[in-house]
């Protein structure tokens, strides 16, 4: 059953649930962070409207810096600004930042250990019609292996707003992963969000699903449908991929003894990979991993791509059934 302590939307499983892209939450979070902390500055590489940095630009024009199509420059400019006392957020698409500018992030942000936040929008195949070049599926792997880097992947727009504000309060580099498509707004203001703390959204005992990003909602639907078949699944919102909340995940898996990971990212090196790296050493159980399997994306509508790539709730249900047979 849905965990009442998660305070999820009353419309959770209704067809008319509102759909909002997580990038919108980022835009609102930037304004909130800018109001709270005068040192926050925002840089953008010619994607101000699309990354929703626009709201900050309008509110704080003197703290908004347009850098043009130059993501490598943007990362290192932000490094310099952080060294001059600012809290820079750099906004672009995830394929370009942290994709194209990965070395600049490594040297001038991570080794340099400065307080820069990297927002990668348009992550996942749900970018849709733009096709493979613009669908980042490797970015969490790039950022999660970077020492000193924190990684957050919010599940809906409201959580993205909370995550953006949380990132501005952390000292040190943070990667925020955002999506283009409108997805169900199913958390509420009351839903707990703490950096580094996973949350149980659905309580169960037969298997654990650890998910992040907008696909978390698909995992919730899967859990709801499975409950009707008599299968009791626990669903964990693992929004902070790094540092990983080991104890919440361990507690659940020690109870259910079966794990399914769900993410809109390459299975190799992603969130699920982080979870099974931990579990294989501490509490090995049968695992099924739902994610993109060593291939690039392609053009299409978000829903049909999720189906075609095996990410939507029917595929999650199948994965749960497979993993339970292996217990």
């Amino acid at each position: 059953m849905v965990n009442p302590k998660a305070h999820l939307s009353e419309k959770l499983f209704h067809d008319e649930i509102e759909k909002v892209p997580t990038r919108n939450g980022y835009g609102e979070g930037l304004v909130a962070a800018g109001e709270e902390n005068k040192q926050v500055v925002v840089l953008c590489a010619d994607l101000t409207e699309s990354t929703r940095s626009e709201a900050f630009q309008k509110k704080f024009p003197e703290r908004f810096i347009e850098v043009g199509v130059a993501e490598q420059n943007m990362a290192s400019l932000a490094s310099g600004m952080a060294l001059a006392g600012k809290v820079p957020f750099i906004s672009s698409y995830a394929t370009f930042s942290p994709g194209r500018n990965n070395e600049q992030i490594r040297t001038t942000i991570a080794i340099n250990n400065v307080n820069v936040k990297i927002a990668g929008a348009h992550a996942g195949i749900s970018v849709g019609p733009d096709g493979a070049t613009h669908q980042a599926l490797e970015d969490m792997a790039l950022m999660r292996v970077m020492p000193r880097m924190s990684v957050i992947y919010p599940c809906d727009a409201l959580e993205a707003k909370k995550a953006t504000l949380a990132a501005s309060r952390i000292t040190g580099p943070v990667y925020l992963r955002l999506a283009r498509a409108g997805t169900p707004q199913f958390t509420t203001e009351e839903t707990p969000f703490e950096f580094g703390k996973a949350e149980v959204f659905y309580e169960g005992k037969d298997a654990t699903i650890v998910a992040c990003g907008p696909l978390l909602y698909e995992a919730m639907i899967a859990a709801n449908l499975l409950e009707k078949e008599g299968v009791s699944v626990e669903v964990i919102n693992n929004h902070t991929i790094k540092p990983l909340d080991q104890s919440t995940i361990l507690q659940s898996v020690q109870k259910t003894k079966a794990l399914v990971t769900v993410e809109e990212h390459q299975v190799a090196g992603g969130m699920g990979s982080a979870v099974v790296e931990m579990l294989s050493q501490q509490f090995p159980v049968p695992v099924e991993m739902v994610g993109v399997k060593d291939r690039f994306g392609e053009s299409g509508e978000p829903d049909e791509l999720w189906d075609a790539f095996g990410l939507s709730h029917p595929h999650i249900i199948e994965a749960v059934k497979r993993v339970m047979k292996r217990k």
Partner: protein, 295 residues
């Protein structure tokens, strides 16, 4: 009160710094020779005349920021910093050793006064521009930003992204310094990837450009002062230097870009056992022109 040095005093200081560069590279057994020797006069001018800084208070808010983009020439920065009083000269012996604050390429958090972590070429001008932007537009500070770069890193695209940004934003609190020594690891810059006309390229990016004799300390100081007087444009000083300056067998020879003396026998060079003694003797005697009391 900052001590005012005469030009001959600065020249003597630069020579001491060159000798320490040779000694620290020999102790390290690896590292770059040509660039540090070539930039010794520039770094002497910066640390002993141009920069507003306090070696006893490296995080002083009002200090000028010196970004070293081509981190591989860090021996010259380390030597100049030691002579300026940031840390004991003896510590130069730890260059590139395990546990040393003097990493093979500079790491900001290891040694106060470094400003940034650097090495991979092409990102320093971006960092310097980010600082200068904050100084000019957001916090309206009095400090200036200096950014030392190599000539070969003008081949990196990011350098020009930053040059475009600094030009657009009229960062007149930024002085870039290019070590125009014409060599890089694989050969001469104009063979590897021609950079000329470098002056016109920067002018086209809305920079003020000065060409400077990088071994004339008075000219270096003058050029840095001129840059301060230029408004609404960043300034780049194209420092014409001789790589390996002061050691005859190293001068203008790209083989010495990434090699320390005393490590390998190379065709046409002194035997490796002789390299260090010849280098230090040449520096002490200014190429045989004087007989030093130190001999």
């Amino acid at each position: 009160m900052k001590k005012e040095y005469t030009i001959p005093e600065l020249e003597k200081k630069a020579n001491e710094i060159r000798q320490d560069i040779i000694k620290m590279l020999v102790k390290a057994g690896s590292g770059h020779s040509a660039g540090p020797l070539g930039m010794a006069d520039v770094f002497t001018a910066l640390y002993f005349s141009v920069l507003k800084h306090d070696p006893k208070n490296p995080f002083w808010e009002e200090r000028d920021r010196l970004i070293l983009s081509n981190g591989h020439i860090c021996p010259v920065r380390y030597a100049a910093m030691a002579h300026a009083g940031y840390f004991p000269v003896k510590e130069l012996d730890t260059l590139r050793k395990f546990g040393s604050r003097l990493q093979g390429h500079p790491e900001r958090e290891r040694l106060p006064g470094l400003e940034t972590t650097s090495g991979p070429l092409g990102s320093g001008l971006s960092q310097a521009s980010g600082m200068a932007y904050v100084g000019k537009y957001i916090d309206k500070t009095t400090w200036r930003v200096y950014c030392a770069m190599s000539d070969a890193e003008q081949e990196a695209g990011q350098t020009w992204e930053a040059a475009m940004f600094a030009g657009k934003n009229k960062l007149d609190n930024l002085t870039a310094i290019i070590d125009r020594n014409n060599i890089q690891i694989d050969g001469f810059t104009e063979d590897i990837m021609p950079l000329e006309p470098l002056k016109e390229k920067y002018e086209a990016f809305n920079w003020h450009v000065l060409e400077v004799d990088g071994h004339n300390i008075e000219a270096i100081i003058d050029a840095c002062n001129q840059a301060k007087a230029i408004h609404q444009k960043p300034t780049v000083l194209i420092m014409h230097t001789i790589p390996g300056k002061g050691v005859s067998f190293m001068e203008n020879d790209f083989k010495w870009h990434g090699t320390p003396p005393g490590v390998s026998n190379m065709e046409g060079e002194p035997a490796k056992e002789e390299q260090v003694n010849i280098a230090l003797k040449e520096l002490r005697t200014l190429g045989g022109k004087i007989h030093s009391e130190q001999e």
